[in-house]
Symmetry: C2
Subunit: 153 residues, 2 copies
């Protein structure tokens, strides 16, 4: 891990299909759309608000995304699933851009997010219990109805 000197966030991302090897990793925006499920609008918007770490351009000014950009988008996707506000992700992106001396702050931000995720999982499991209680109530009601139907017949 961490083969490049600085201004990076890499630390063990899993391999990904349809991805070209280092050196030839140059994807158009529509390829990235296909990989990530985001729209081109959203990708450009992410860049405008500072959520992307400077994307390369072709000689004609078109965006060319690298493997590292895809890794970053994977992380952003995960963080988005946690419900983290975009503003916080932008903050994290800024910390990454600022260099290695922000490790501590990044650590804290991720720790806080981790706590949020744990809390959210707990909430959801709580909700699941309520849901299961109601579902079995309705399932019972169905069974009773079926039984009553049988009796009539």
């Amino acid at each position: 891990m961490e083969t490049t000197p600085t201004r990076t966030d890499s630390c063990g991302a899993p391999p990904h299909p349809h991805r070209r090897p280092e050196g030839q990793d140059s994807y158009t925006i529509s390829e990235v759309v296909a990989f990530t499920g985001l729209t081109a609008h959203t990708l450009r918007w992410y860049e405008r608000i500072g959520l992307m770490p400077h994307v390369d351009r072709s000689h004609t000014g078109q965006r060319r995304y690298s493997n590292r950009d895809l890794d970053w988008l994977d992380l952003v996707g995960k963080l988005r699933l946690t419900g983290m506000p975009v503003a916080d992700m932008v903050r994290y992106a800024e910390l990454v851009r600022e260099g290695d001396h922000t490790y501590g702050e990044r650590f804290e931000l991720l720790e806080a997010t981790r706590r949020d995720v744990l809390a959210r999982i707990a909430e959801l499991q709580d909700t699941l219990a309520v849901l299961d209680r109601k579902i079995s109530f309705y399932a019972d009601a169905e069974r009773v109805r079926a039984y009553e139907g049988e009796k009539v017949r």
Copy 2:
């Protein structure tokens, strides 16, 4: 369970603090605000959009919430946590208002929600793994820094 004849959704809600016994259960909007954490605006809005099952009024036209209303708000709160759109909750409320013959549809709606919640928990656990990987990366970096500091001293 299900002591009242129809047009109800009750099926085993846990007891709740600061709640008055049946018969004297008549809460002002500000009491409900204190119980639920919702704003009065939101409570009135829920009613306007058909998410509440008709709230009682005092002789002067002020809202008087019952224990059943509080139960309903608890459920709505849980469903909201799952990310269920308000429109879907309104649909569920409509089914409850329509009576017992909608049991099947309610069952399906809850089942679908249950599947969503399970998927969401899985996503979050996935994210948690990513987070943990990054967090331990930064924690290691901190340890190395501390060690380097020691060496210099």
